[in-house]
Symmetry: C2
């Protein structure tokens, strides 16, 4: 019998070992830096909220949220499942303290009671940016610009931001001539266009009771996509008689002007009338980014404008527009597309054979570290050159420093350039300057 506990993860959870964790940190830092350049400020809320805050009293959440107990007692608290509900709580709780408009970003883990299955996880990272209390299209455009700059900062080039306005889809029944109360179901079906194609969507719309003429108009509208100028002109011509739809189109024209002024290149965004982004929630512009080399992974960033943000927590109301970066999905995609930069834990490994070399190595390490070069001293149990070099090769340090008694007496260090397979003897006082020419510090 084993006398120890199996070191297994809880089902649906995962570890990120250093190579993946470093790549994720690199992503998070690039995103954060971009958000800050737009004046977004960080907000931190706890992972645990009162159950009522999260569910709004809706019993349907029961199977989705993890509730907490302590010493067998129901705490009436649960783990957050997104970062939007906490934002709403914060906006309601600190109405007078926060600036308005309020630009906040938040990064954090969220938890959902997904069934354990391949690719489904119960904890994942969200990275959200929202502007609260800015009702104009300028704010919508800013979020789309932020989406563009964020994906660009990650080194992505081949992506497309698909933009629509829920004012159009929400009033689709007007121009397509089906009963208004079918709208929710119709949108849910349209949302499957990417996966099922028009044939699949048509079949479901027929089951929903839509007539031939309605189907024709729905198809015509949701297949409208492309460069904004052309598409919006065509939409105006075809659907201009329907007041609500027209107002949505006009808003998109205004939005397009702002998106262009913000320098989002035409090749990276388009109007796509099929984009619905879920149900009920959004009330104005909606948008999602697709990787052109990996569209099947789905949208890697998405968002839109939503009114009624804080109506659950306050009799006041306030509208908001924002988006969420799918960090986990982007991470998977960028790894698969080989777009993730190679990150090494340290640039320099100092070998360590005896006490005297260790003391000298420590002095050099401190100098290099303080000047910005990540430096490691070998502290393992290998005593010989060969074993320590094997460790260096395995962990891919670009430079290895060797300090033997010969070197100490001459006041030099052997510097091995592992990539170039060269070795030079460098005076101790010149090591930083020597390494600096190779490493950007």
């Amino acid at each position: 019998m084993k006398d120890y506990i199996e070191p297994n993860l809880a089902s649906g959870f995962r570890d990120y070992l250093p190579s993946d964790a470093a790549a994720r940190e690199w992503m998070v830092e690039a995103i954060k830096k971009t958000f800050r350049r737009f004046g977004f400020a960080s907000l931190e809320t706890p992972g645990v909220e009162r159950e009522e805050i999260l569910t709004g009293g809706d019993p349907n959440f029961k199977k989705q949220i993890f509730k907490l107990t302590l010493g067998g007692q129901d705490e009436k608290t649960a783990l957050r499942f997104d970062l939007t509900v906490p934002l709403a709580r914060v906006m309601a709780a600190y109405q007078n303290e926060l600036p308005k408009p309020f630009r906040r970003y938040q990064i954090g883990n969220v938890w959902r009671g997904e069934r354990a299955q391949a690719g489904r996880f119960r904890e994942f990272m969200q990275f959200d940016a929202d502007i609260v209390g800015a009702p104009g299209v300028g704010a919508d455009a800013e979020i789309i610009s932020l989406m563009y700059e964020t994906l660009s900062a990650l080194g992505l080039k081949k992506f497309s931001i698909r933009v629509n306005n829920r004012k159009i889809l929400n009033n689709l029944s007007d121009c397509a001539g089906f009963p208004k109360n079918k709208t929710e179901n119709v949108l849910r079906i349209i949302d499957k266009l990417d996966k099922e194609g028009w044939k699949g969507v048509e079949k479901e719309l027929i089951s929903e009771g839509l007539k031939k003429e309605s189907l024709r108009v729905v198809k015509q509208l949701i297949e409208l996509k492309g460069e904004s100028g052309k598409v919006l002109k065509e939409a105006e011509k075809k659907f201009g008689d329907f007041k609500e739809v027209l107002s949505g189109v006009k808003e998109l024209e205004d939005l397009a002007k702002n998106i262009k002024a913000l320098g989002v290149p035409d090749k990276n965004w388009l109007i796509d009338f099929s984009v619905a982004r879920g149900l009920g929630y959004y009330t104005g512009p909606v948008f999602e980014a697709i990787l052109l080399d990996y569209p099947e992974i789905g949208s890697v960033a998405s968002g839109g404008r939503y009114d009624n943000l804080i109506s659950r927590f306050s009799s006041n109301n306030v509208s908001a527009v924002g988006f969420s970066v799918g960090v986990d999905r982007l991470f998977t995609a960028m790894k698969k597309l080989n777009l993730m930069p190679k990150i090494v834990a340290a640039n320099v490994l100092i070998l360590n054979f005896d006490e005297k070399a260790e003391i000298t190595g420590e002095k050099i390490a401190t100098e290099l570290r303080r000047k910005g070069i990540a430096t490691e001293i070998y502290l393992g149990e290998e005593k010989m050159l060969k074993g320590q070099l094997a460790y260096a090769v395995k962990n891919e340090y670009p430079f290895v420093l060797i300090i033997g008694s010969d070197e100490i007496s001459k006041g030099v260090v052997q510097v091995k350039n592992m990539k170039e397979r060269t070795q030079e003897s460098i005076p101790m006082e010149d090591i930083f300057n020597y390494l600096e020419t190779f490493l950007k510090v």
Copy 2:
């Protein structure tokens, strides 16, 4: 009756609004940067672990850990209460994949079922660095050096790292002549020296049954502190006859040599034989950092060497040395001592009076953002100069750009330096260069 849910936090949890959140992020980034310069790599583990992993089967944890339920079912999982148990699980689970020695840092929230009371929170941030599988004092010294460099990177100067070796305290019964099995209780009492002073400690030790001669030796030993050379020589003289104690002292001498080579100034560290750092856990050097201007807040960083890291999860074993930065405590202390840098969300606010100004402002904003200047366009509901300037003053933007129709026709922008209370008219194409001279980009 109210028709909305009160936006209250769960008891024992807290929000960090932007000014605090930004300061905390600044801290975390400074710490991370320092850790990376020592070659520490990031590890991410989930917030949720199997209950058995966390408790090791010990029922005493029941009141400390938050367990999870889903749809009313006990998930047999719980929220992690520290980052060391997950590290142990990872070391046991991926023994062949991870390099050895393995330097990892991890930052994350942990949760404990503390009773709700002032200053006690149920969720707090930990920031740990550990070296696993490096048995020598070189690793102990590196952790102490990392502690010094980390606190220095936060701008702290007046702090002291107190160093001891558990080999001395664990064998205190040898030289003080009390029964060995009282050691745990005696150490628990000694741990209160900072709070209660010798008088309080002496009283408790008497209740524990220690005789006069034992008390004298305990006092003599735990009051030994100061510069390593002097203190260790004295300890050798006084306690050199006790083999285990002497070996602890010798180890400290070796450690001291390495600490000095790593450039930790004498004024920032000392030997202090009273430092115990809790019970059972540590087996070699232990250390803790105290802020000299705010000692009453307790240690802001602490750690030590502990064997048996993975014995719960594996029949192999491995020793480790590490420390934890008390981010929340440091944050409180640095705010109180006025050491926290002032962080603004954006350097530039572009005022926004009409559509034409907005379009021009968007072009300028994109240029500034891409060149690294955090820039916000005013998107709120104030239409007049006065209202927008009030927003600018409230949020402390260093620069405000004003673009009226006059400016557009002349191709210039009014740049207001809010601190200097000056205003200049600058050609649009020169704005970045102009601002760059004031702002470090």
